[in-house]
């Protein structure tokens, strides 16, 4: 068990690699109650959320549907990444636990100008059930609400019996996230484990998200990194020209000046893991330098992989000096595995 920003959490319940493989091949269950849940109610709630985050919740077609977004500061740097859900009366943001303090400070200052009430839902737990067999596991749990999820598409959700369940996740596998009162969460956990879900710790949560090419705050992103530099361009919605959001002007300026850094994926044939902060160099561009944002051993590929922020270049290979040795890596897309399949595309 480790202290994770004030929460006592397991790195692993047994073997981290076994847990990782359980999610890729069967079904895993995660206690992610450390995530911060913020509800927004009031007549200005839509107006406020559209101003607060870079993606546009206006495009959510139905209640309980979610979208991934960055919340930016005035310089266009990422304060946090989050999921915004439409509720039947307002919006719900699920933000990171590590950034809770900064988020609350920022949002509280901004919300003052709106007819909006913000409520932190620390009365709720959050459980993720992920993997190719997650539907099967959930169907064995005695909670009728989850049955209603079957007809839903990715990112959509349902609400009933105090349970808020969505087809979302942080693993690259199909699966569900359920937000519910603490006592119900304990029951769901017990039922899911009985139905075959393996408990998964923080360690495998990290290797799963890294293989899936999903960002982790403090690694791929921080307050001085723009969404353009961390593979989040697709989450910045500029379609509604009339909509203003925090950081928009800086982003427009950056877009007109051109992008200098980008997030890429690395695969190594070497038996060395590149860790966060590792400097990267390029054989034919000696003046350029990149940096590893996250690196691990991929249990699915049985090779080291990494995400890295590097200057815009057409280089196909980079190298790092680790313990006095040059280690080479292939550069490609910042995603490796989706629903068990290898999707990394190396540069050619």
């Amino acid at each position: 068990m480790v202290d994770f920003h004030g929460w006592s959490m397991p790195i692993n319940y047994g073997s981290q690699i076994t847990e990782h493989n359980a999610v890729r091949e069967n079904c895993g269950i995660f206690d992610v109650s450390h995530m911060t849940i913020l509800d927004f109610h009031g007549e200005d709630s839509e107006l406020f959320i559209r101003k607060l985050i870079a993606n546009d919740v206006k495009k959510l077609k139905q209640d309980f549907e979610g979208l991934y977004s960055a919340m930016l500061n005035d310089n266009g740097g990422v304060i946090d990444d989050l999921i915004a859900y439409r509720l039947d009366s307002g919006y719900r943001l699920v933000v990171n636990c590590a950034t809770r303090g900064e988020d609350l400070k920022w949002i509280s200052t901004k919300v003052k100008d709106y007819e909006v009430e913000m409520i932190e839902r620390d009365d709720l737990s959050m459980v993720a059930i992920q993997g190719p067999k997650s539907s099967e596991v959930l169907s064995k749990c005695p909670a009728p609400i989850v049955r209603a999820l079957e007809s839903k598409k990715k990112q959509q959700g349902v609400f009933g019996n105090n349970m808020f369940a969505t087809k979302t996740g942080y693993t690259g596998e199909m699966g569900f996230e359920v937000i519910l009162p603490h006592d119900q969460a304990i029951n769901l956990w017990k039922n899911a484990v009985e139905a075959g879900a393996e408990p998964i710790g923080l360690g495998a949560r990290d290797t799963l998200r890294l293989e899936a090419g999903m960002n982790l705050y403090g690694f791929e992103m921080n307050e001085s990194i723009s969404p353009y530099e961390c593979n989040m361009t697709w989450t910045v919605d500029l379609k509604d020209e009339k909509r203003s959001f925090f950081g928009k002007e800086s982003l427009l300026k950056q877009a007109s000046e051109g992008q200098h850094l980008e997030l890429v994926g690395l695969i190594l044939d070497d038996r060395t893991i590149l860790r966060q902060g590792q400097k990267l160099q390029f054989v034919s561009s000696a003046d350029l330098e990149g940096i590893v944002t996250s690196g691990t051993y991929s249990p699915t590929l049985k090779k080291p992989i990494a995400l890295a922020r590097i200057p815009k270049t057409t280089e196909q290979i980079c190298f790092a000096e680790v313990r006095g040795k040059k280690v080479f890596a292939k550069i490609g897309t910042p995603r490796f595995i989706k629903e068990g399949q290898f999707i990394f595309k190396e540069r050619t």
Partner: protein, 127 residues
């Protein structure tokens, strides 16, 4: 006085087991493998290499971190456990038997007694 096949330790979590010919088999402790978590790569010294006591001699890398393995005593590397290159997880499953790293011919077998006993090592882990 030490006895043959006794295991002794470094505070940095390596163990050494001595045989009657003064050959020391070296590995990492159960406590160390537990701290590291799933081990995914092992780098071993070259056979014939002369190691000093407490010299970096091998590398063990887990999903969490890379860590140096120090030679408990000085001597020449005479054998390495190549099985670990393809199946490093053996170290997690059997740290004292199948998961040994390398063997050295000790320069001076009497130095073995300078290493920590099991009790001393266990106490040092609890500190």
């Amino acid at each position: 006085m030490s006895t043959t096949n006794e295991i002794r330790y470094l505070a940095s979590h390596e163990w050494g087991r001595i045989d009657e010919e003064g050959i020391l088999t070296v590995g990492i402790s159960d406590h160390a493998q537990d701290l590291l978590g799933d081990i995914v790569f092992v780098e071993l010294p070259d056979i014939g290499k002369t190691l000093e006591a407490e010299e970096e001699s091998a590398i063990v890398e887990s999903v969490k971190a890379a860590s140096d393995v120090y030679s408990p005593l000085s001597g020449e590397v005479i054998e390495v456990n190549e099985k670990l290159l393809d199946e490093p997880e053996i170290v997690n499953g059997s740290p004292y038997e199948e998961g040994w790293f390398f063997k050295i011919r000790l320069d001076d077998g009497s130095e073995f007694e300078n290493l920590m006993t099991e009790e001393e090592y266990t106490n040092s882990c609890e500190e």
